[in-house]
Amino acid sequence: MSLDMIVNWMQATLRWSVPLILVSTGEVFAERSGVINMGIEGIMLSGALCGIAVSFFTGGVFMAVLVTMALGAMMGLAVAFLTVSRRTNQVVTGLMINMLAMGGTNLLFALLSESRRTRVATFPVLFPQSMHNIPIIGPILFKQPISTWVALILPILSGIVLYKTTWGLNVRAVGDNPQSAATVGLSVIKIKYQTVVLSGIFAALGGCVLTLGEVGYFASGGMTAGRGFIVLAAVVVGGWDPFKTALACLVFGAADAAQLRFQAMGSVIPYQFLQMLPYLVTVIALTIMVEHSRVPKTWGAAYDRRDV
């Protein structure tokens, strides 16, 4: 195994993990406030198509990001309305959003048939060409699009917000004991709305990075292929901590990038086992981490202010 191959594998790991890290950032906040936004898979898929469509029609990547964030916020708002205000089952609501997004994106993409044949503009690379050739860190870091840098800084930022700000404290209080939080005058409903909308925005953004990161194409039939569910698992593995969750996403990405390389090398291990590898790693990590992590006390439960 040469150095080139390791560098290449690390590049692939980052490409794989960046969308997952973005989506997980929002999901950590939603789950910390007690709401499991299971609809992130569908919101991600919608964000992926929205990014492609806006970039295709306007040619502007920045515009695409803004519109995608607005779409994510709206879908997050829908999830919040259903699960927080109407107190619907969070799992069922999420699945409904996912099915809706699957059918909706297939339909809309069929209408956009011109964009199927066109590769749209993707995110720019921040650093100049000369820095790409610095050994090892050049190709791994400086050659990556701007979205990678956002994803690398984001877990640190969201850690600060969650643990060092009043709002972060409020979010954690609402997730652990909403009744007490309400007693001290916090608006539990409002905070839950805020976190769920946030999870929608980041899920859409993650989907947008999937298509606009480097690929520049969309494909019907659910191109997110279960990434939203992987994020849900990563949040649990990471113990609802932004930094550890990002780490879990990186491990998953590394495992998947590795298995594709094993397959390419013509390994004797059956391909089914290699395909399973990232999921196996996730399951093992889950089993080990569950011991050490602390679940938000009202995780997945509906909040009714009349309950005492």
């Binding site: 490409r15 069929a110 480097e214 969309f218 039939g221 292929a225 594709l260 397959q263 390419a264 395909q275």
Partner: protein
């Protein structure tokens, strides 16, 4: 309460009317009515749409009556096929490898009507069930010829979603095609576990490219654009397309494609040419595969492809049908 009940009753009746009405057929001759059952949307710009259009061509040319149902899921299969059979359709086509067992079951119940298992090869010995598909083997062989004439580093690879029988066939004949040109070319293959995951298709391609592979043959659904993106982002990496003409999307990296003629398959099935209870594999001679080559393929490569086409038509090449 009563009013609610009557509303429900009316809604139910309207629903029932619509359900029976949308596929009802007249009193015409049984042989001349065809029903097609599709697993996906008939506007998907892929297999579903093109086989459906083949049936429409048969309708226009031969004046047959047609009906169809889109997005039929696994659990609805029996019900939908049976419904069409009860309505008396002469030919009922299940479009896709997943319809095999349901077609066998219903074909036994309605022995006087014909059933076609499309993109399948196994009729289970039911006399009124015919299987028909395009030749993945011929496609793979021609793809192998194109790939071997393109590679500079003598490493070519195939990328697919999952290994089903047709894909194994395509792989075997791809290897045979490559070997027919140059025995020193290495061939490998990678599965991505999905047919529509564009990012994973691109990752798999980049992994292969990093390992020195410079010609890629994707055999995927919508995810193939990921392979094209990877080739476009790398230097001197080319793609041999399968299923669709990939030069339409990425002309700068596509040397040629082996196009599956789904429209022709749908046409032949609907026209009633194939109803003998056997298995039909439409290869080069039957117009099941259309090879297209572009300016990126050398003259020598083009000549080799032409030669292979003639040999396949004449049945002179030892690959599965």
């Amino acid at each position: 309460m009563k009013r609610n009940l009557s509303i429900i009753f009316v809604v139910f009746m309207v629903f029932a009317l619509v359900m029976t009405g949308f596929a009802s057929k007249g009193e015409s001759d049984e042989k001349k009515s065809v029903a097609m059952i599709l697993p996906g949307l008939k506007t998907d710009e892929a297999f579903n749409q093109y086989t459906y259009e083949g049936m429409l061509r048969a309708q226009k040319e031969l004046g047959i009556e047609t009906a169809s149902r889109e997005e039929v899921t696994q659990d609805e299969q029996l019900e939908v096929i049976r419904q069409f059979a009860q309505q008396g359709f002469g030919i009922i086509i299940g479009q896709g490898g997943q319809f095999g067992e349901a077609l066998q079951t219903v074909a036994k119940e309605f022995p006087d009507q014909h059933f076609v298992f499309s993109v399948g090869t196994d009729t289970g010995g039911v006399p009124n069930l015919t299987a028909a598909t395009v030749s993945y083997s011929h496609a793979g062989y021609l793809g192998g010829i194109m790939a071997a004439h393109t590679t500079k580093r003598n490493k070519v690879a195939m990328i697919t979603g999952e290994w089903y029988d047709p894909h194994r066939q395509l792989e075997a004949s791809f290897k045979a095609g490559v070997a027919a040109v140059n025995k020193d070319v290495e061939v490998t293959s990678v599965t991505i576990g999905s047919w529509s995951d564009v990012n994973k298709a691109r990752e798999a391609s980049l992994a292969l490219i990093a390992d020195g592979y410079d010609v890629l043959l994707p055999c995927l659904d919508a995810a193939f654009v990921g392979v094209l993106a990877a080739a476009e982002d790398s230097d001197n990496v080319f793609v041999v397309g399968s299923v669709v003409d990939m030069a339409q999307v990425a002309p700068d990296v596509t040397v040629g494609s082996v196009v599956f003629n789904w429209e022709e398959l749908g046409y032949q099935e609907a026209s009633g040419k194939l109803l003998d209870g056997k298995t039909h594999i439409l290869g080069m001679a039957e117009n099941g595969i259309t090879p297209v080559t572009g300016k990126l393929l050398s003259a020598e490569g083009k000549a080799a492809v032409e030669e292979a086409i003639e040999a396949l038509k004449a049945g002179k090449i030892d690959v599965a049908p």
